[in-house]
Amino acid sequence: MADELELAFERTVQAEARIEPRDWMPDGYRKTLIRQIAQHAHSEIIGMQPEGNWISRAPSLRRKAILLAKVQDEAGHGLYLYSATETLGADRADLTDKLIEGRQKYSSIFNYPTLTFADVGVIGWLVDGAAICNQVPLCRTSYGPYARAMIRVCKEESFHQRQGYELLMTMMRGTQAQRDMVQDSVNRWWWPSLMMFGPPDSESSNTEQSMAWRIKRNTNDELRQKFVDMTVPQAEKLGVTLPDPLLKWNEERGHHDFGQPDWDEFWQVVKGNGVCNEQRLAHRRKAHEDGAWVREAAEAYAAKQVKEGVA
């Protein structure tokens, strides 16, 4: 019987059909998905902080409204994804606990500080750009609720990337000081953006099984290459330099050659030693604790309505 179920599962996956919540699935598949989707959700939620940092200091009402909408979208992305984990039997409150107790990770990119307003533009362009590269193939991931969440997310991401690029174009048309600010920001975010695709394939332990289950559709290195190829002409148009002396077009491969990020730094940040790790978690924990009375009040109100027969 178990073999039959497993066979049916594999056949569904091989046929590019979707696995749905009430289907039988291998334990490992369920666990891998919960871990991956939860980490993804946490990243969206923590990802609100670096840019949220600039909402009150945005230089115009227009930029403030855009930034608010973008940060609100990221909250939405987190919620779509938590919703997907619950279809696998995870508990949202438990995942929040795991995040604020540091037992589950989020993308290390959000542990870098946003020092200038140009960072808002560069995050939209490079960080959301890298996220799009990662997420577009996930629209075809084998687990239905995850794939559907990704489709919603991807639709919204293109606004994120375009507003960032437009912000940078505006700054590049400004003063020399503004152009320098953009270049400085690109210099700081380029390598961490490349790290968003994860360690090189040769060191990535989960890739093979995830590819077989069609959770993952491309390897880390494939996606990184795609991102570099997409970004180079955008940087040229913008008039900024990408800070990699090894970056150049390789006619034979039909791709750009490029240098490797500092993987020691990557692992340091993953382990919690990045510039902002502590601050990000402390902020999330405080928001959660400060919200406790609101959750309790809403619950008490709902209970009272039921008692009085209103609801």
């Binding site: 749905e20 009430r22 289907d23 039988w24 909408a69 609100q72 979208d73 939405g76 919620l79 779509y80 919703s83 997907a84 619950e86 279809t87 949202r92 409150a93 606990d97 609720p145 559907r148 969440a149 919603r152 919204e156 406790a292 959750r295 309790e296 809403a298 619950e299 109100y301 709902a302 309505q305 609801a311």
Partner: protein, 94 residues
Amino acid sequence: MSTSWPLWEVFVRGKRGLNHVHVGSLHAPDAEMALRNARDVYTRRNEGVSIWVVKADDITASSPDEKDPFFSPSGDKVYRHPTFYSIPEDVPHL
């Protein structure tokens, strides 16, 4: 920590003339709050003209394991489909 808010499934009618379609779920203390949250989470860009929220516990679903017997009543009724009937090609508008 207080976390006993129930889970609600959210259905959105994209525009007039379409059915409500399931879009995801959220937690809320009551139906009213579930609706408000659903608006903010699932319709930030005019994705809907109407929202339903239903407590997840109140949904009864068929399970895929029982798929064959459960859906078999319709499986052998091919005459429910228009392609069951052959009509000469020169009969218009049919």
